[in-house]
Symmetry: C2
Subunit: 250 residues, 2 copies
């Protein structure tokens, strides 16, 4: 079956394998060069950017659907994933993806309710993959996200809010940073998520107080200034903290 046939099949009979009216959108966050990034895709038809997402198979969990699209776009399993909101405004389809070949009575033309997930991934581990419907898949700086299809800009905004919220009770760095990282790096991460600057010394005190971090003897070299220590997460205390919840807000 060639691409065109595959596409035809999807348009005409997709509703036999997927739940109608329901989709999943993933806001995939990464952190690179001290900036928070979002992974976006560009449709071949129409050339518009959008969130990676997908449909829910008839016997598949919604989470499962999100995990599947994450795997497809990043190549990664075992990603931190969090459902944060379900978007169901009947008008959200206004700015619909334009597909030339679309059939007027296709299931794709119907109204869609979309379950929003955000995912946290380690930037360097991701190998962004476009697929047969998209010709680009790449990271965008959170502050430079272009105009997206449908209500996807709003979804990104809400995902960021949800992430910000979860910073209070969840050691987010673990999922976004490499195994070894420095305190300044961790601080930049928090600062970009919160979009405000924090005091270096108070930040460090707060981070260390939770006992989820372990300082290594190694220091990061190559920088132009004093070499900062590397840290890594202490898995034991980290998991304990997840259960008990962290205290303090931002």
């Amino acid at each position: 079956m060639d691409k065109d046939q595959q596409f035809e099949e999807f348009i005409l009979r997709g509703s036999q394998t997927f739940l109608q009216h329901l989709s999943v959108d993933c806001v995939i966050f990464g952190f690179h060069e001290n900036q928070l990034k979002v992974l976006l895709i560009k449709w071949k038809e129409g050339g518009q950017w959008s969130l990676p997402g997908g449909f829910v198979k008839k016997k598949e969990t919604i989470d499962g659907s999100a995990i599947r699209t994450l795997k497809e776009r990043t190549g990664l399993d075992d990603i931190f994933l969090h459902q944060f909101y379900t978007f169901g405004d009947p008008l959200r389809g206004k700015n619909k993806i334009h597909l030339k070949k679309i059939v007027s009575d296709s299931w794709l033309q119907e109204r869609f309710v979309s379950v929003g997930y955000y995912a946290l991934v380690e930037y360097s581990k991701v190998n962004p993959k476009p697929d047969w419907l998209t010709d680009e898949c790449r990271w965008w700086d959170i502050h430079e996200v272009p105009k997206l299809v449908l209500d996807h800009n709003g979804i990104v905004a809400r995902a960021l809010e949800a992430l910000r919220q979860s910073l209070n009770d969840h050691p987010v760095g673990f999922n976004l940073l490499p195994v070894k990282f420095t305190m300044p790096q961790l601080q930049r991460l928090y600062e970009t998520i919160l979009n405000k600057s924090l005091d270096r010394r108070n930040f460090q005190k707060k981070m260390l107080r939770s006992s989820t971090l372990e300082r290594l003897k190694e220091r990061k070299t190559g920088g132009a200034h004093k070499a900062p220590y590397f840290y890594r997460f202490d898995l034991r205390n980290y998991k304990r903290a997840l259960k008990e919840g962290l205290t303090g807000e931002w």
Copy 2:
């Protein structure tokens, strides 16, 4: 059109007016006699208890659908409503509502994904109403909820968790208590939601610190002991607090 016809119509052609595969479930919280309550309904057919819920009309917001079912069951408009999670396990239909008259290929037999909302209402204002499919609609103590259909017990549990969470940054009492209330009442509310006892004096200090409460000169009489003062929410500060967010956790 009589009841039976109406029912037949709903079973056979409901999918013309509602989105398939999608429903809304509402966990309606009230507070009465120092206990947290949940409003539940009992199906005529099968006699099982469940959460009040409904389906989403083809041109209706999901929120709109929740507001509609809330209005139908409580008679109230303008209810505090919060979407907290979407339940999409394909197996959640295992313990399906049993309807004698159901047609085997009815849209109702399909898998349903359900958007969960919790609502906060003032107990005394509610006039619980069963409808043509249900013969009972009444309050249950949160700790005495019976076995419910589908995964509704789990939905209640998650709603309570979400409510507990929102206690941190949202002055919940305003929606659940009458206009005038006493400090002990407010404390009982927090204690039942959190399911733990709090220190009287520290609780009061914390509540008053937020400046969302105003003490009245009137005291509550009739009790067997020293008469407690009435308080009411200070709308100005209350709204400011909502925007800025409250601090402190539980």
